[in-house]
Symmetry: C2
Subunit: 257 residues, 2 copies
């Protein structure tokens, strides 16, 4: 029994998210089907980040167990021949039997891109156009407040499948990249919509309609209604997954980086 690791990139625009759903075009559905065609056996995919509808990935990781001998080069080629243009597996690797893309992951890294200047036709599928004057210092203070273990109840919908709301944020900060502000955030795991609600709230901080200090209050289990809007999905990208170094020597970041 071998465990196969897939490093995946997708343009989320035309997917109803990662997780397979009947009658919907999903990343999991498309990829599992392709693998079943190639391997002539059903596969059960385990994934590091169950991204929502419209969210992109450059560094998504999935794995599956398989009782066949897998030639990574051959499987890479077969997948390239069968997958649609908006989903690609950029690396196939064999792992120890203990590896599980979901259970072994100790960190997920997302980026959220905000364009405050004129809109950009060429980047419209990947950035949130938000032409406002933003106070970067205030947004940086709000981002810094997120680091550590907190109760993120305010940053996920009230109607929820989650049971525990504590998450540990390892890094969270805004960077200026040309004419964009980019939030980069890593946590052990994320609640549904968590990054998008954090971004929506921090943009209110940036606009001066909410003080940065309020983040501390929100991170103590405040209700959803106390936080800001949910920022649009299409500007969010899962850029990488962190594993313990002993689990996998493969690179953790998306293939553009």
């Amino acid at each position: 029994m071998s465990v196969v690791r897939l490093d995946i990139e997708y343009d989320g625009s035309r997917f109803a998210g990662w997780a397979a759903q009947p009658g919907q075009r999903t990343c999991e559905g498309i990829l599992a089907h392709a693998l079943e065609v190639i391997l002539r056996a059903p596969v059960e995919l385990h994934v590091a980040g169950r991204t929502d509808t419209g969210v992109h990935a450059t560094g998504q990781v999935a794995s599956f167990g398989c009782d066949q001998d897998i030639d990574p080069r051959r499987l890479t080629k077969s997948l390239a021949g069968i997958l649609p243009p908006d989903l690609g597996v950029w690396k196939v690797g064999l792992c120890s039997a203990a590896f599980d893309a979901r259970a072994s992951a100790i960190g997920r890294i997302y980026e959220y891109r905000v364009l405050t200047g004129p809109r950009s036709p060429l980047r419209r599928a990947c950035v949130f156009h938000h032409p406002r004057t933003l106070n970067l210092d205030a947004m940086t203070a709000a981002a810094r407040a997120c680091v550590g273990q907190h109760d993120f109840t305010a940053f996920t919908p009230t109607k929820t499948e989650h049971v525990f709301f504590d998450r540990t944020v390892r890094q969270c900060g805004w960077a200026v990249r040309a004419d964009e502000l980019v939030l980069r955030i890593e946590a052990d795991a994320f609640l549904r919509n968590m990054v998008r609600i954090l971004v929506g709230t921090m943009l209110e901080v940036g606009r001066g309609i909410r003080p940065a200090q309020e983040m501390t209050e929100l991170l103590r289990g405040a209700p959803r209604s106390a936080a800001g809007d949910t920022a649009p999905a299409h500007a969010l990208t899962l850029v990488g997954v962190r594993y313990p170094e002993t689990t996998s020597g493969a690179p953790i970041l998306g293939h553009a980086e």
Copy 2:
């Protein structure tokens, strides 16, 4: 009479190039129509780079003369409200009567993006996926040979509207940007398909099927058949236009840079 300068970005994927053609969706057609709706008068656009079908721009420049008083902020807003998502004017400026986006331009700057590793779903609209081992030193030598004044007959289709084939290349070089090789080339002006045939030829140099020294020969008016393939349009972007500093103080490069 005032002259208005427009700095323009577009995603060329769904345009039949810049130049207006009956029955085709073109950048010029869409933009001129939008201006005529806003100004209630016909406009004649002069453009720095007549890009081909599928070619993108971040730093295209067009101008038009107008006998109305133009408020640049207001025109920017009106255009934002009327232009489609894949074409945007990111700056409107008033220029001296002597300014003409086409006639005043002394340099056009293009970039061509080549991805040699695994294909990238998120960048598929803007890069040429060419999974080959390329010799960057040889390609750099070939690029360097292009600098200066040469006869580029080999780098444009035989059936041509051009009369003179000499062009002066001011800079031409390959840069490594993450997992991409990017050609950046500036010339006083370009022949039709010139950058794409230069890239197609330099990729053959990179693959070792054509010696770099051959460029010198090709640049002495060799026939089209002597040069390489025409690389795909969708990986080419007009990133900027150079004007004499006395003509216009406006920035010359595309809005992402």
